[in-house]
Every structure is written in structure tokens, then in C-alpha cells.
């Protein structure tokens, strides 16, 4: 199973991870369109954590015991038994935000662009490879293989 690993030691705080996450989670998925004034607001599932000269990116860990899934009142949030990925079925989510209150990593955001649904790291399932990892210039974000779900 693949997961994103974030390394605070080599993160330079450039924020490209957020930029590319926003692009991937925009309607156009195109960097020259996503940030246009007329485009809908952009949202990132990656946080850039900064204090003093320290920084690192954080995002969903696809927990083995995912409190967001357990707290989900609709069944929209689920952990895939095969891939272990925690994803939201946006057609079922009603925007109660219980997942936001449950997630100890603060890794879920409100998406109010088209209804009210939770948005979180999906490892860029559609794209095939996490865009934040691909665009990290310093290998502060890498893909690691982990066992188990």
C-alpha cells in the first residue's frame, strides 16, 4: 500500500505542494486556469505547517483506525478494504463536518463550491500519482510502501 511521507528536515516551505493540490482539486485541473479570478475558489488538502524556520507539509494519513470514518454520520467517508485509502463519497456527504471535528490531523476541509461536502487527500486517485509528491522540488514529500490496512 502506498502512502505519502513528509520529511520536515528537508522541507523548504515553498508551498508548491499546496499549489498543485489546489490544481488537482479544481474543476479544470489546469494550473493556468485554476487560479484565474473568475475560477471558483481553490482548495488544498495539504497543509503547510510553519513556525519560525521550521516547516513541513501535512495531509491525511489514511489511518488504520480512522476516526473520521467512524464519526461519519452518513457512511460517505469510508476506508477501502483493498487499498486502505480513506475517501469521501461526495454524493452521500451532507456537510455536517463531524469528520473535521474527529480528524486529529486536521486533514479534512470544507468544500462549499458545489453544495457542501468534505474534501480530503485521495492520493490523486484520478490522476494516478500524488501531484504534491511529484512537484515537491526537494523530495520532502515521497511515496513509501507500507504493509497492512
Amino acid at each position: 500500500m502506498l502512502r505519502i511521507k513528509s520529511d520536515p528536515n528537508v522541507c523548504i516551505g515553498c508551498g508548491l505542494c499546496r499549489i498543485w493540490c489546489k490544481v488537482e482539486h479544481s474543476p479544470s485541473k489546469n494550473i493556468s486556469k485554476a487560479f484565474k479570478p473568475a475560477a471558483p475558489p481553490t482548495l488544498s488538502c495539504v497543509e503547510l505547517e510553519e513556525r519560525g524556520c521550521e516547516s513541513f507539509a501535512s495531509m491525511c494519513r489514511h489511518c488504520e483506525e480512522p476516526l473520521c470514518v467512524y464519526g461519519c454520520i452518513t457512511g460517505a467517508m469510508r476506508k477501502d478494504p483493498q487499498t486502505g485509502l480513506v475517501t469521501v463519497d461526495r454524493s452521500k456527504c451532507v456537510g455536517c463536518w463531524t469528520c473535521i471535528l474527529m480528524c486529529p490531523n486536521g486533514a479534512i476541509v470544507r468544500d462549499e463550491r458545489n453544495g457542501y461536502t468534505a474534501l480530503k487527500c485521495d492520493m490523486c486517485l484520478e490522476r494516478g500519482f500524488p501531484s504534491c509528491v511529484e512537484h515537491c522540488p526537494n523530495d520532502a514529500l515521497v511515496i513509501e510502501e507500507v504493509e497492512d490496512v
Partner: protein, 429 residues
């Protein structure tokens, strides 16, 4: 005995599903039976008001896909009430007299709506809002209604009022307490919710008692809700939403220990070794008070059910994350609470508040640790705070940062931070 299951579960809702999913991870062959009074496919109880208003279609009210029971190899006995439990013979009795045996039993029958002693409560047009069936029946009735009164301003009452308003009914909420959501919110947050309701066209009367539900001269149907000011609130539908109480009646005379709910230890086990309870029926460990408490919320039902299921299937698991948490939106304004949210300082609590156009934030601190919160509007990354509550992190000196919402994993002590960014999130149970 007509049948015996390795795992028998009473109830077919959140706690039951949590248990089934845990059991099947550990035991792929043991037989699982589910008995429930309701005949529905497992559904999300909080969505019934969304179903009422038509915002969520029936297939999206279901809590799990339609093939769930097949995939998890669960035998369903739906439409049957368990009337008693016999731990000596390891069996339960159904309303038709049938007995079902078990090797281990989970009681997950939830809570029953409280029926207040109001004259006229059984008139046509008076509804509870606790089951899909309630919502379905109300929906049919409301097709020819235009004014509704909701009795009780708790979470269910206010979500019902919101749904009715979205259906373009005129809605009045009547509450005995001096404010809405009085047990979950402090005065400031309660006022914020009240304003939101009023702005959206809901009338709210607090501090009043309902004296009767009246019919009219020519019909038995509800015609008005009479209140103790002498007023009559004319309506063609009324909703009773004054709370739920654990269905402990099913264990009467069984020797299974109860207080307000069925008492369970940290393994969700009752005083009988092979009998467990979870969800709204249970009185379980509350990490913040250190005692046992009934906390009737969905996340705890799932987690409690999961912990019970693991223990039933032979893997030791503890229920340590069952504090109270609630997140709800009224007309898209989010309101969140956790732990000792209503404390105002004193009794060992210190309280920090900020109320500005970005919203209301309140933190309750005891012995240097975060033990309660209220957030409205700006709820970004709220789970970082409950995560700190669950981990018992000392937040002395961080109060302002937390109040500003300038909070990140980067604020956490190194070892916890390391676990959060690199760990596998397996330490909760």
C-alpha cells in the same frame, strides 16, 4: 431454540455495523445474526430529517451499501423486537415468543424517544422524529400541512425545524429551557444558533411549557399546541422531540447491570462476561469525567460497537476515545462542541473565549489540558483540538494560539507530532 449464532446483535444501526465490521476483520466464518425491530436496511438516523425535507433521497439515507449483509455474511431477523434477555441460557426472546441463542451477545438497541405527559399527544398529525418510519409518515401528512410546531429545541428538534422550514412550512419551536440546545451549548453559542434560526424564518419560544395538544371542533387531528402563557399555537402538524432514553427495558430482570443505560466496562462488556452493549443504550467510559456516562452520539456508537466487536472476536480493545463530540450545521452555519463545553470557569476550569465576525471560539481548560470547546463558523482543522483533548496534551501558554485558530501539528510536542505525521493512526483503539 430456533437458531443460535456465534455473534448475536440486537439492533441494526450504527453500533451494530461497527461491531459487524470489526468482527469480520477478525473472524471470517463465525455466524453473525442481527435482530432489529425496524425492518429497514441499515440507515443513518441523523439523515431522517434530510429525508423528511427531500434533501437526501432514500438510497442515500442508507448507512451502508445494499449488499452489506451479504458481503459480511450476516443473517437478518428484522421486524422483531427483543423482549427479554436470558444470560443463564445464553438466549434472547423475541416478541413472537421465539428464542435465539448466542455465544456472545451485543445489545445495541439504542434509545427510545421520551414521551412527555402531554394531553392529546396521540392525535393524528403528532409525530416523533426518531425513525425512518416516523419521517416517512410525517412526510405523507405534511403534503397537506402549512404550519408546524416543534416541541423541544434539542438537536433533533432543531434539525426537524430546519427541515420543515426548507419545506416552506411556517415553523414554531417551543422549548421549556430558557434557551435552545441548553444542554450542549453555552449562552453565547445558543444565542448564535437562535439568531440563525430566526433569520431563516423560524419562530422560537423559550421558557414555555406545552399544556396540551388540541384538536378542533370537527376533527380529532391536531389543530393547536396550547402553551402555559395561555396562547394557542395553531398548526396542522406537531413534532415531539424532547430527547431519547436508553432502551434498558429489554434487560429487565436479566441480572445485567443498568443505571441510566446498560453499564459497560472499557471493553464494552456488561457485568456478564459474554454480553456487551454499545451505542445509545450503553453507559460507557467517558475519558473526560473518568466515569461512565450515556453519550448518545453517532461517533461513539460506531466506536463502541467496534470495540465490542473486537473483544467479542477475541482481540482485546479498549474504548478510550468516547468523549462527547458534536458537529452540526443549521442553515449551513457550522457549530461544534466537545467535552465540557458549557463550563464557565470555576470548579477547576479555566475558560478562554473569542467572539468576533469570524465566529465564536471557546476553550475550556483543566489542569493545563484542553477538556472542552465550542466553535462556530470558523471550524477549520477543529479535529486538531479534539486530538489534543484525546491525547491529554498540556496546552499551558498555547491558549492564544489556539484561540486564534493558528494551530497546526507543528505546535504539538515532538513525539506526538511525529506520530501524527508518520504514524499509521492505529493507536486509538
Amino acid at each position: 431454540m430456533s437458531s443460535t449464532f456465534d455473534y448475536l446483535i440486537v439492533g441494526n444501526s450504527t453500533a451494530a455495523i461497527g461491531a459487524i465490521e470489526a468482527i469480520r476483520k477478525l473472524d471470517s466464518t463465525g455466524t453473525i445474526g442481527v435482530v432489529a425491530s425496524e425492518t429497514e436496511h441499515t440507515y443513518s438516523r441523523p439523515l431522517i430529517t434530510y429525508f423528511l425535507s427531500g434533501k437526501v433521497a432514500e438510497e442515500n439515507v442508507y448507512y451502508r451499501p445494499l449488499d452489506f449483509y451479504d458481503r459480511y455474511q450476516v443473517t437478518r431477523l428484522l421486524g422483531h423486537e427483543v423482549t427479554s434477555v436470558d444470560p443463564t441460557n445464553n438466549s434472547v426472546t423475541l416478541d413472537n415468543g421465539e428464542k435465539i441463542g448466542y455465544k456472545s451477545l451485543l445489545l445495541a438497541a439504542g434509545g427510545a424517544p421520551i414521551v412527555p405527559p402531554i394531553p392529546g399527544i396521540d392525535r393524528p398529525g403528532v409525530f416523533f422524529m426518531n425513525t425512518m418510519d416516523d419521517a416517512r409518515r410525517a412526510r405523507g401528512w405534511l403534503s397537506h400541512a402549512s404550519r408546524a410546531v416543534v416541541i423541544g429545541a434539542g438537536l433533533t428538534g432543531l434539525k426537524t425545524a430546519e427541515a420543515l422550514r426548507e419545506m416552506n412550512l411556517e415553523v414554531t419551536v417551543v422549548e421549556l429551557a430558557p434557551r435552545v440546545l441548553a444542554t450542549t451549548l453555552d449562552e453565547t453559542a445558543s444565542e448564535i444558533v437562535l439568531q440563525t434560526l430566526v433569520e431563516n424564518g423560524i419562530e422560537v419560544l423559550t421558557g414555555v411549557a406545552v399544556t396540551a395538544i388540541e384538536g378542533s371542533d370537527d376533527s380529532n387531528d391536531v389543530y393547536a399546541v396550547a402553551i402555559d402563557t395561555g396562547e394557542k399555537l395553531v398548526c396542522d402538524a406537531a413534532f415531539i422531540t424532547v430527547g431519547v432514553t436508553p432502551r434498558i427495558g429489554i434487560v429487565e430482570a436479566s441480572g445485567i447491570a443498568v443505571r441510566k443505560g446498560i453499564l459497560v466496562d472499557r471493553h464494552m462488556r456488561t457485568n456478564i462476561a459474554n454480553v456487551y452493549a454499545a451505542g445509545d443504550i450503553a453507559e460507557a467510559y467517558d475519558p473526560l469525567t473518568g466515569g461512565q456516562r450515556v453519550i448518545p452520539i453517532l461517533p461513539n456508537a460506531y466506536i463502541g460497537g467496534r470495540v465490542a466487536g473486537m473483544n467479542m472476536a477475541g482481540r482485546a480493545a479498549e474504548y478510550n476515545v468516547g468523549m462527547s463530540v458534536n458537529s452540526v450545521s443549521f442553515f449551513h452555519r457550522p457549530v461544534m462542541t466537545a467535552g465540557f463545553a458549557t463550563e464557565e470557569g470555576g470548579n477547576g476550569f479555566r475558560v478562554f473565549k473569542r467572539h468576533d465576525p469570524k465566529g465564536y471560539r471557546k476553550l475550556v481548560i483543566r489542569d493545563g489540558k484542553l477538556v472542552g470547546l465550542i466553535l462556530t463558523d470558523d471550524v477549520e482543522r477543529a479535529g486538531l483540538l479534539t486530538g489534543m483533548m484525546r491525547a491529554g496534551i498540556n496546552i499551558d501558554g498555547m491558549e492564544d494560539e489556539l484561540l486564534d485558530g493558528k494551530l497546526g501539528l507543528i505546535c504539538l510536542p515532538p513525539e506526538i507530532r511525529e506520530e501524527r505525521i508518520h504514524g499509521r493512526g492505529r493507536n486509538w483503539l
